[in-house]
């Protein structure tokens, strides 16, 4: 009996930890919202954060988008040409890229690049008492540190995704036309016929959600850092892992909600 209780305790601890972190992230997100409806607003720090997060993430996001656009188009071109379905290559690649692959992979890239940086920066501030110093000076750390980072992630991820959509589709177009011999007009006709503006906008909406996830989880783990350099390292790793898990889980739910299927 004691063994069973101990096993249940051990097995249940990760679940409890997960619920605790989830609750803390929701509370932090609500505190950010609360800061947005009260003066002073956190706009002063927002510009530099948008610039930093955008420029930090742009190169890796574009390389990822180009790679996935090229590889995905290469694979479907091989198969579709075999079955005589070359006319839909552009549209299928477009749908897969703008609805799923590019928003999700841009979210993943930003989680690794920016989520880790936010957690490390805020974690270092936490363990060196800088966050306490802000509170001691009657300055709200959520307004000064968290809100600008969360809002910047929320704004930057759709922007990056929009640029990445273009680069990914260009990569796919290049592979289909230059390597697989598909006529440019067939690729573009198919793309135009199957991919709607709505698909692009829903992909950007998903990207905005991923931005919120990365900003909130990165900030929450950073502010929870304890025990010096080791604690900051752990917070950074957790920020990336938790962000990735949340992105992958919620991506399915969002896709099921935004793209329920049916006649197009």
């Amino acid at each position: 009996m004691t063994g069973l209780v101990r096993w249940l305790e051990t097995a249940g601890r990760p679940v409890m930890d997960l619920m605790e972190v989830t609750g803390a992230c929701v509370l932090l997100a609500l505190r950010v919202v609360d800061r947005l409806v009260r003066k002073p607003w956190p706009w002063r720090q927002l510009g530099p954060q948008v610039a930093a997060i955008g420029t930090d993430s742009l190169p890796i996001a574009l390389v990822t988008a180009l790679s996935v656009g090229m590889v995905f188009t290469l694979q479907i071109s091989n198969e579709f040409q075999r079955f005589g379905a070359s006319s839909v290559i552009g549209g299928v690649a477009g749908i897969a890229l703008v609805r799923e692959l590019i928003p999700t992979l841009t979210g993943v890239v930003v989680a690794g690049r920016v989520g880790a940086a936010i957690a490390a920066e805020l974690g270092a501030m936490q363990v060196t008492e800088q966050v306490d110093a802000l509170t001691a000076m009657a300055a709200d750390p959520v307004r000064i540190l968290v809100a600008p980072r969360v809002l910047a992630c929320l704004a930057v991820l759709p922007m990056l995704t929009m640029i990445a959509d273009v680069v990914g589709l260009a990569g796919g177009f290049g592979v289909a036309v230059q390597l697989k011999g598909l006529a440019a007009v067939r690729f573009l006709d198919s793309l135009q016929g199957l991919v709607k503006l709505e698909d692009v906008l829903k992909g950007l909406l998903k990207a905005a959600w991923f931005g919120l996830v990365v900003g909130v989880i990165g900030s929450q783990r950073g502010l929870s850092a304890t025990a010096g350099a080791r604690g900051v390292g752990r917070a950074t790793t957790e920020a990336v892992v938790y962000s990735l898990i949340t992105i992958f889980v919620t991506n399915y739910l969002l896709s099921a909600w935004l793209f329920p299927g049916g006649a197009r």
Partner: protein, 253 residues
């Protein structure tokens, strides 16, 4: 006799199983320097963090000019904190800002124009003997200089209360002496209530108007500075002897 600026009554705090403060009662008067001493981990720094609301007490009351901070809402806390200047043990300077921006930070937060805040920053940096340090980054300064910048930051807003958490720990004797002189001078010039947490001999002897000895979360001695010479437990601590806690009424030690 003026009413105490800060009064702590039956304050208790535990972190997990560890009791850090056990029904502590003490008071700090306006314009005087109260030095809180005791071995590491005895609850001295926690007392400062409780006064600032950085951690919440499990039981007891903290009164700031008669206001019960346990019942304070967000606005009251902001107003109380704006009257306190805190010097953290690690200095806790914002490493993304210059020294001058660090010192001016609280003023800018309170709506003072940036040029005016930076002028005040230059003034207080001169007061702590660092008139040229404004453009530097905190990481470029020595530990003693960082502590002095932290003091400048704490006094920039002309607070009514100054809290010093181990202001001279880890510093050489010359720098320690400069900082001790600074604490005394600032206290006399500004009339602020100062609470200095320390276990450094020279800091205790050179700054204390009043002395409070903490041990295992309890107060073993509390009174005027002459206790430094007369109180057995305080003398024992300052002489480096192991202290034994006398048994508590109705309970084990």
């Amino acid at each position: 006799m003026p009413a105490p600026r800060i009064e702590v009554r039956d304050l208790s705090k535990r972190f997990g199983p560890k009791v850090v403060l056990d029904a502590v009662t003490c008071a700090f008067d306006p314009g005087r320097i109260g030095v809180v001493i005791g071995p590491s981990g005895c609850g001295k720094s926690t007392l400062l963090r409780l006064i600032l609301g950085l951690v919440q007490p499990d039981a007891g009351t903290i009164l700031f000019d008669g206001t019960d901070l346990g019942r304070a809402h967000r606005g009251t806390w902001e107003s109380v904190r704006s009257r306190i200047g805190m010097v953290f043990q690690s200095a806790a300077l914002f490493d993304s800002l210059t020294v001058a921006e660090n010192v001016a930070f609280a003023l800018v937060e309170r709506g003072v124009r940036e040029a005016e805040a930076l002028a005040r920053a230059r003034e207080v940096l001169s007061q702590v003997g660092l008139p040229e340090a404004g453009p530097a980054q905190p990481a470029e300064l020595s530990g003693g200089m960082q502590k002095r910048v932290a003091i400048a930051r704490a006094i920039a807003t002309r607070p009514d209360v100054l809290l010093f958490d181990e202001p001279t720990t880890g510093l050489d004797p010359v720098t320690s002496r400069q900082i001790e002189d600074l604490i005394v001078t600032l206290s006399r010039e500004t009339g602020a209530t100062s609470i200095v947490v320390s276990h450094q001999h020279s800091t205790i002897h050179r700054t204390a108007d009043r002395i409070t000895l903490f041990h295992h979360g309890r107060i073993l001695g509390d009174g005027e500075r002459d206790l430094l010479d007369t109180h057995p437990a305080i003398r024992s601590f300052l002489d480096g002897h192991t202290m034994t806690v006398p048994p508590r009424e109705g309970g084990a030690a």
